[in-house]
Symmetry: C2
Subunit: 409 residues, 2 copies
């Protein structure tokens, strides 16, 4: 019988959202009249920008006529989109056309990037973290097995918590692949240019690669927070950056993202010879992927028109006003709250003596609000809880009012 | 320095289409007035079905309103599409809703499926073959290195040629993963139910898995050729099937496909315990992929309406009339031609003493037609040449007229 990839057996079950659904469902059965508000949602709710809608209608019409029909496009994405990406997001940062790879989503990109690396590399992740970084390395056999303390034996965890202001310390040992998510999911916090410079310097000194997930860059409001790792000197030698249209332009159900792999980022083979990661990723991308839909790329490119930029900014502002309402409301209620200034996520410290799941139950039972237990994002998420700003204004305001007036703290 | 995946270094360069482009470009420079006709193209040229166009316009409008906006969908695809797929293509074949995984393309699926298998499995491929099966296994480390004879040392090649009527013989040794493409790219030939039954029986006896690529099923015209591997008794225990909207409905630039993984197909771990490949693939699909665009899934579902079915059939018929013109024209011209009856590909034997690339040059120079040398698809493709039926009627007719009247044979 064909053998399976046994690394898959090391993965724990996808427990988090199934368990949330189970508890909410039980509560609803017992309290059928409760008006439950979901602030755990990690998905956008506002419609696409009118500029994208128009561009996609036009593109659909092009597909209806032989003269304008598009078959296979370049796997790396159409030039009309890549040009706009560089012009808007990487002006003067030195990113070139053949360093940008358009894809169907950042989940695919951050999940697939590890394929071009050797299985014996040491992986470092911040903790708590978006689970895809870890799970895809488990599947590839880079992590060893899950231990009783909730960590994989060969992975270097970099705790981020209130004590260190969610600023991970550099690893004390040498690591090869470093996943950084900034602005961060789930903590909603960011790293300053000074902090990021430390990571670039570490990577240069230790021949490591930084895998920089900037999916929430559009939510940054403070001036000194870098939008791109390429704002940091030396980063073009050590960093790969991931960006997405999902949260930037409401594309979670429309699917478009891109990865920047500078031609100057190198890995080595076992004989010490250097190889361009750009070339390896290009080979991966062109062998296992056949391009993002033409219609979708047209919709994505439309956000870079002046009206498109104004429209997506209005939506991001809408969510960030929600974030402000949540953050300030929680603080008024006497809770410790983090994030929510440069990201649509608010990360709160659960009250003394209540763990993540305990707070989940308390919030659901006392004020009928659903959030996400921090423990679901890694061991260092225990004692924290995530609320998101993607709901509508009315529900967000109602939820915070309940927390302020009815939650027993 | 981070180590790379050294298996990538075993891949030969992507030589085929680059070399074709180089030779065509040189010829054009020397013969600027030549009217070159491309019959090498493996991409559709006719517009999408009006039913798909309408459905996509409607879906784009849904994305413009909060009440109908769609964010993340199920990674496995929307029920509205999966229901139609089963109803249309798998009626009475026992395929269930949670056995169908919608994706962004068959290239992704046939490239990614090997991830759920162990790296020590033996892979068998028919030869010649769609290069993605082989290349993705090279990248994963299942093939060993490329030898001087053009084959990878650990891969079992199953030659398909005129002598065996393009019907591969069963392996003499035990193999674990068997890639079959039927109707076949590049040969345009198919396997009968009786032949496929031999493969299912082999797989059952040897605990192998059949990876059945049915991307061209819509082009089958003969009654006794199976459209799906699941028409073969016993296949639900050993076969995974890949289908695509690319060639079926002109979706090469719109991107939608699906994979069927019956819950009854098992692999084993090193201790001999059985595991459901459906569950492993579900874990892979939900961890590294975030769903096919809602708009695209609506466009795909629309081909299953009565008008959609009629529209895509008209386009397939158009291409198959081209195939008939090419096939019969080649035979009239005195060439041996295969395929083109149940597939949009015509595979011709190059004349005595002329190899694949020699025939490429001859066709280009004498009659200004571009095709694809068979050697580009594997060692057994040497001495053959591929023409495709995806061009327009006028050029197809003109090209065949030139071959009949001007090619020196």
């Amino acid at each position: 019988m064909a053998l399976i990839n046994e690394n898959y057996l090391k993965l724990p079950g996808s427990y988090l959202f199934a368990e949330i659904a189970r508890r909410v469902s039980t509560f609803k059965a017992e309290n059928p009249s409760a008006d439950i508000i979901r602030l755990g949602i990690g998905d956008v709710t506002q419609p696409l920008a009118p500029a994208s809608i128009k561009a996609m209608h036009d593109a659909v019409d092009e597909m209806a006529n032989q003269a304008t029909f598009r078959g296979y496009g370049p796997e790396q994405g159409y030039d009309f989109l890549i040009e706009k990406i560089i012009e808007t997001n990487y002006k003067s940062l030195g990113v070139e056309m053949d360093e940008v790879f358009v894809s169907d989503g950042s989940k695919s990109d951050v999940g697939n990037i590890q394929e071009i690396f050797g299985v014996n590399n040491t992986v470092a992740i911040t903790d708590p973290v978006y689970p895809v970084y870890l799970d895809t390395n488990v599947m590839a056999g880079r992590t060893g097995t899950l231990q009783n303390n909730g960590t994989f034996e060969q992975v270097v965890y970099l705790p981020c918590n209130a004590e260190n202001s969610f600023t991970p310390a550099l690893p004390t040992n040498k690591v090869d692949m470093i996943y950084l998510c900034c602005p961060n999911n789930p903590t909603g916090t960011t790293l300053s240019k000074k902090e990021l410079k430390k990571w670039v310097d570490y990577a240069k000194s230790n021949d490591s690669i930084i895998l920089f997930d900037a999916a929430y860059a559009a939510y940054i409001t403070e001036a000194d927070v870098p939008r791109s790792i390429y704002e940091i000197e030396g980063s073009r030698d050590v960093a790969i950056e991931f960006r997405s249209f999902s949260k930037t332009a409401g594309f979670t159900g429309t699917r478009c993202a891109y990865t920047v792999v500078p031609k100057t980022v190198m890995g080595k083979d076992s004989e010490g010879k250097e190889h361009s990661l750009n070339q390896l990723w290009n080979r991966r991308h062109t062998t296992k992927f056949n391009g993002t839909p033409y219609i979708v790329q047209r919709g994505a490119a439309a956000i870079y028109t002046p009206e498109g930029q104004a429209q997506i900014k209005a939506t991001v502002d809408y969510y960030m006003t929600n974030a402000k309402i949540i953050r300030e409301g929680l603080i008024t209620a006497g809770l410790q709250a983090f994030g929510g200034v440069n990201a649509p996520y608010i990360w709160l410290k659960t009250p003394e003596g209540i763990d993540s799941w305990g707070f989940f139950d308390k919030l659901l039972k006392e004020v009928h609000i659903v959030g996400t237990p921090g423990a679901g994002f890694g061991p260092s998420g225990e004692g924290y809880f995530r609320l998101t700003a993607f709901g509508n204004r009315e529900n967000t305001e109602k939820a915070i009012e309940r927390i302020k007036t009815k939650l027993i703290l």
